[in-house]
């Protein structure tokens, strides 16, 4: 056991593996975490030790937050940034401020790894669907497709008559805390294979009486760029973009330098040039132009021009454009619409 104790002591000094649950207006915290070498921002809660809840989480998303919380493997801990853990139904969570966040994370992480802290799961311990032992084979029903094995029905085709011609459609709701999606976005998809056949986008609006968040101290376009870079596997360049996003007096040369490093056919464009063009009002049709706009905006605010808030987009129009895309393409497309979607989460656009 001495070996395990030794391992734990070393593990306690590792970068803190955090899963970030983003509410509204949390770009600053996300940029802080991406930019800091003491933190690894994970794409899946299964890889995390600590869950960070940042921004305003509406009451409608609290149940989903609980599920993400439970997906962090035990022992786990939660840190809530500038919020009230009790309101989020996470009584064991630690509350902290943005300024003290990373130090707090390092402390909490060490406590979790050395076995001094473990937040219990908040969801039910047993499957709410009663299935075991029901039916001739104990799969919760009769026939080849009728059961609910492990509490879940089989995927069914979208037709009434199952004649073997129509293929099953995998119906899923992903989000609002999936790290690969823009924050507070829920995507209801019907997947056939890896192609989206049916898409519905919903943003989770802020609670009616939520306090108005202060203006974000970071450049949202650059935060969106950092997320996009992370999505195409350029995590190291993402930290550069995040660092630039939170530099208050960034120089226009730094923005230009970042652009030179990523705006090349073999850079970020290898991932975005091939995305489908979009036909949306107020949005550049070309996917690569969308992130170039963020860089241009960051460059113009660096020389003192006023920041132009992104126009909200109508989520149903975006959804219509996603139909027929492959999953990876759809994720990247949504990432290129991150500022617009964040705007429409707060003030929904009316479909034209």
């Amino acid at each position: 056991m001495a070996v395990m104790d030794r391992l734990r002591r070393v593990a306690a000094t590792a970068p803190v593996a955090v899963s970030v649950a983003l509410g509204h207006g949390a770009d600053a915290v996300l940029a802080d975490l991406r930019a800091d070498a003491r933190v690894d921002v994970t794409a899946s809660p299964r890889h995390a030790t600590v869950l960070v809840v940042a921004g305003h989480v509406p009451a409608a998303a609290v149940a989903a937050l609980g599920r993400v919380h439970d997906q962090v493997p035990a022992p786990r801990a939660t840190v809530v940034v500038d919020g009230d853990p009790a309101r989020l139904d996470l009584p064991a969570a630690t509350a902290t401020t943005r300024a003290a966040l990373v130090d707090e994370l390092v402390r909490v992480h060490a406590a979790v790894v050395t076995g001094q802290r473990h937040d219990s799961p908040v969801g039910p311990a047993d499957n709410p669907v009663d299935w075991q032992g029901i039916g001739p084979h104990g799969q919760g029903g009769e026939g080849m497709m009728g059961g609910v094995p492990w509490g879940r029905p089989m995927a069914m085709p979208p037709t009434v008559g199952r004649d073997g011609l129509a293929l099953d459609r995998l119906a899923l709701v992903v989000g609002p805390f999936l790290a690969v999606l823009p924050p507070m976005l829920e995507v209801e998809v019907g997947l056939q294979g890896d192609v989206l056949e049916e898409v519905e986008l919903r943003t989770v609006p802020p609670d009616p009486h939520a306090p108005t968040p202060p203006p974000t101290p970071v450049d949202s376009g650059l935060v969106a760029l950092a997320e996009l870079l992370a999505l195409v596997g350029l995590g190291a360049l993402a930290t550069t973009a995040a660092r630039l996003a939170r530099t208050p007096d960034r120089r226009v040369e730094d923005v230009a330098a970042l652009r030179r490093r990523i705006d090349r056919p073999w850079g970020l464009r290898l991932g975005t040039d091939d995305l489908d063009r979009l036909d949306l009002p107020g949005v550049a049709p070309d996917p690569t132009d969308r992130w170039r706009d963020w860089l241009a905006s960051a460059a113009s605010t660096a020389v003192g021009d006023a920041h132009h808030a992104p126009e909200p987009v109508a989520t149903d129009e975006v959804a219509a454009q996603l139909v027929g895309m492959e999953v990876g393409h759809a994720v990247l497309t949504l990432a290129t619409l991150r500022p617009q979607l964040a705007a429409s989460a707060v003030a929904p656009a009316v479909s034209s």
């Binding site: 009728g146 089989m154 004649d163 459609r169 056949e197």
Partner: protein, 214 residues
């Protein structure tokens, strides 16, 4: 490796091949069944290597792995309940299948025993690979080219039958799903076409307005 070690290896691979072959029909999961079959083939390939047919054995590893991956894709695409979450019977007509299986095993065994096989191994120092290559470049050249033409026909056939897109538009343009009940014209299911439009309605004449979407 000496004779005894080779014998031990042979029986190990032979039993493993048979056991994995049996597992194919005893598991509920299509993926498990497919890769049990692959494991069975890998053991047969190992036996071929033991028989000094080195290239054929290793080629068996290679080909069967690719083929089983493709088979897994199609098994999961076509089978309801591909993971066997709902328990089921993998075999149809088990009695007839057992009878045919025993018959085939006995028949092949008899052939192996009574056939006039060469009494000693034919050892080729340069390896069978070179001999195979010379054969392909020599007497069997024409045969190989004919196989090439046949396989091109296979490829074209596979594309014609499977591809949902094509030069002249979607392959299911104008197609109508069959009636679930032959006597009831209202039992026609909605067909969801490959590009995601569920626009055929029961009793309608099919996809009249297809192609209007971008």
């Amino acid at each position: 490796m000496t004779g005894l070690a080779v014998d031990i290896a042979f029986w190990t691979f032979a039993v493993a091949a048979a056991w994995f072959g049996w597992r194919v029909f005893r598991t509920d999961s299509m993926v498990r069944a497919t890769f049990c079959l692959l494991a069975s083939f890998l053991n047969v390939g190992a036996i071929m290597v033991l028989l000094l047919a080195e290239y054929l054995g290793v080629a068996m590893f290679f080909m069967m792995s690719v083929e089983m991956v493709v088979m897994a894709i199609f098994m999961v695409a076509f089978m309801m309940n591909p993971a066997g979450l709902n328990p089921m019977e993998m075999v149809h007509q088990p009695r007839a299948a057992i009878a045919v299986g025993i018959g085939a095993a006995v028949g092949l065994g008899v052939v192996a025993v009574v056939a006039d096989l060469p009494p000693a191994a034919l050892l080729d120092e340069a390896g069978t690979i070179r001999a195979l290559g010379n054969e392909l470049m020599g007497a069997s050249m024409l045969l190989m080219e004919v196989v090439g033409v046949t396989l091109v026909a296979t490829m074209v056939g596979a594309v014609v039958l499977s591809s949902a897109s094509g030069r002249y538009g979607s392959a299911d343009t104008g197609s109508v799903p069959p009636l679930l009940d032959p006597d009831d014209p209202d039992s026609r299911p909605d067909l969801v076409s490959a590009d995601g439009e569920g626009d055929a309605h029961a009793g309608h004449g099919g996809h009249g307005g297809h192609g209007g979407h971008g």
